[in-house]
Amino acid sequence: MTGTHLGMPAFPEAAREAVRDEVLRANLRHATHTIRDKRARAVAELEDWDRLRAAGKAVKDHTLAHLDRYLLQLEASVTAAGGTVHWAADADEANRIVTELVLATGEKEVVKVKSMATQEIGLNEALEAAGIAAYETDLAELIVQLGHDRPSHILVPAIHRNRGEIRDVFAAEMGGWGRPAPEGLGDDPRELAEAARLHLREKFLRAKVAVSGANFMVAETGTLVVFESEGNGRMCLTLPETLISVVGIEKVVPTFRDLEIFLQTLPRSSTAERMNLYTTMWTGLGPSKGADGDGPSAFHLVLLDNGRTDTLADEVGRQALRCIRCSACLNVCPVYERAGGHAYGSVYPGPIGAILSPQLRGTGSEIDATLPYASTLCGACYEVCPVAIDIPEVLLHLRERVVQGGPVTREGIRVRIRPADGHTAERAAMRAARILLDHPGALRAGERLLARARRLRPRRLPGPGRAWTDSRELPELPEHSFRDWWAQREKAGREKAGREKAGPAKVEPAKVEPAKPEHEKGARP
């Protein structure tokens, strides 16, 4: 899986940069709060939401448990309907297949429907290397592409940009890709959308090849489904002669009827609407390019693994494959809201990205080893997930893997990984803590020492402790340890009781002084 960018800093570093950016934080706060409130209302409309959620989870779990069977059934259905199915074990293989298919048409440009899978494999870059221009047609993706930027949200990839920034990007960059932005373009969203409409329409009307992903694939019928709002999806799925869809193998569902669940839960979780504006469902080439008499005359489906079967092999982590990419978890996450999507260093940002990316890519890189820590474990992501992925559970599971190492599956092979770098200090500290806690005397002596040195407390720990204080303030040291405070309190209580017995007396404020523990002399080192 590509998508880690060269020199990408680990999450804590990237997040520290991001939270300093006040414009970014304001853009994010506005957007995430707007959509999370709307979503809550849309979900509250359905009294059977919990049952839909349970059904969606069950469909996905059932499909994953029999994934081989359903993929074979899907292949047969798509082929029977006039499509061609290709299988790609990894990103390189998928990119090679798509590039060859495009080159075979003799075309040098393709229009694209927003797709997470093609971002994950770096398809645009691969096509560019082969001399093929790939035009993103979703407005937000266009903003990202023209801005030489990276997406930062699953649903609204340009969520980190405000209207002024978008205006500047359009004015500066549109001319280099095709129709330039109108003279004197303002920053009204209406005007900006109009500029995008004009810029992209000339591409839609001449495009011969389109590349898409899909939200769902139906094994029983071979039907693919794309949810969208703008109509760019319909343009790409209708007008070109060749359609190539790159879809992760986990997107299959068994029956056409199963769509009734996700057609209700995905729009409400994602855009907070009762239904997204446009949904297209197509089955191969249709009855002889048939009933409707239009649409592409060639359809290719590329089934993508790229780490998904490795994820499937992990009993705890496999639930991430239920994800339907609604992005509700991003919008409720306090960490995402402040750090933004770029900090996650993967095409899947937010809570789902924090569990999906380290599983698809492995925890070998610095960024992937830090992603399981990009969370407060508050559980809000689990609450809103329409397929009930227990993200906190998987985060903890992955943290354990990062720190302890252990058995994982990489490229289909069972291997045992070593603990990630940077966690040796943490393990050493935990071992030391265990020794200390087993020896109360030593702990007591240490605590007292710390209390005396409290004014010398540094803001960040030196040496191996540094990583820990990278993302945390070192706590204030109390004047007394809890045990000393408790002993003092008990002693004061006893003295008070004695005085009261003897008659009323002026109560002096308790003078707090670390009590000398009686048994200290006998303490073991």
């Binding site: 059977d48 049952r51 069950a58 081989d68 309907a81 609204v156 978008i166 193998i249 409707d292 079967t309």
Partner: protein
């Protein structure tokens, strides 16, 4: 080993046999709430309106006049009609009727002002029109490229309550287009803007005894 064999082998290694076949709980509702057919049509109208479609109600006698007025108000000079559209609907229209032909190019369609179609069915709870390429609807591209789409829904006959009621009536081998309002985007600061690439104006005519 081919990629296909490789992927299937990985799946089988990841999932040890036997794999119990747990059922899917389908205790979710088929319809949300109880409504009379008239109330279902009202709900469709309300939900379409909320997503900025313009909704009109008319009976068989009035549709020709209504369509003429809607096209004239917009100043449409040309209007696309699918092959099976009842001629009586467009009998009074002043604009030039353009019949969709297989050889008309996307650029030619781009020069047309409006399109009038029927639909396969409409879903009240979500405010959705479903087109399946039938004779009253024509090819997908004719409802996509022009900027103004008038869609006629026969009420109450073509209206269903909910998504679970709609799917069994649809044929998955046909290409299906679900439309819930005019094209819109929320990609700029989540401000909703109507009309990006699809029709910027969607008018829905609810046709039936009033």
């Amino acid at each position: 080993m081919s990629a296909k064999e490789q992927i299937l082998a990985r799946i089988r290694r990841a999932l040890p046999e036997p794999r119990p076949d747990t059922g899917i709980p389908r205790d979710y509702l088929a319809v949300h709430g109880a409504r009379t057919p008239a109330e279902t049509v009202d709900l469709l109208a309300a939900n379409l309106t909320e997503y900025r479609a313009k909704v009109h109600r008319v009976d068989e006698d009035g549709i020709a006049v209504l369509l003429r007025r809607l096209l004239a108000e917009r100043g449409s000079e040309s209007v696309l009609v699918p092959p099976g559209l009842p001629p009586s609907w467009t009998a009074a229209v002043d604009a030039t009727l353009i019949h969709d032909r297989a050889d008309s190019t996307a650029h030619q369609l781009d020069a047309v002002d409006s399109v009038v179609t029927g639909c396969a069915l409409a879903i009240a709870e979500t405010g959705t029109l479903v087109l399946d390429g039938g004779p009253e609807q024509g090819r997908r591209r004719i409802t996509l490229i022009p900027d103004h789409h008038i869609c006629v829904v026969r009420v109450p006959g073509q209206v269903v309550d909910s998504v679970p009621r709609a799917l069994p009536l649809l044929d998955p081998t046909r290409t299906l287009t679900w439309i819930s309002g005019p094209s819109a985007t929320s990609d700029i600061e989540l401000d909703r803007v109507e009309g990006v690439h699809g029709p910027r104006t969607l008018e829905v005519v609810l046709l039936g005894a009033q």
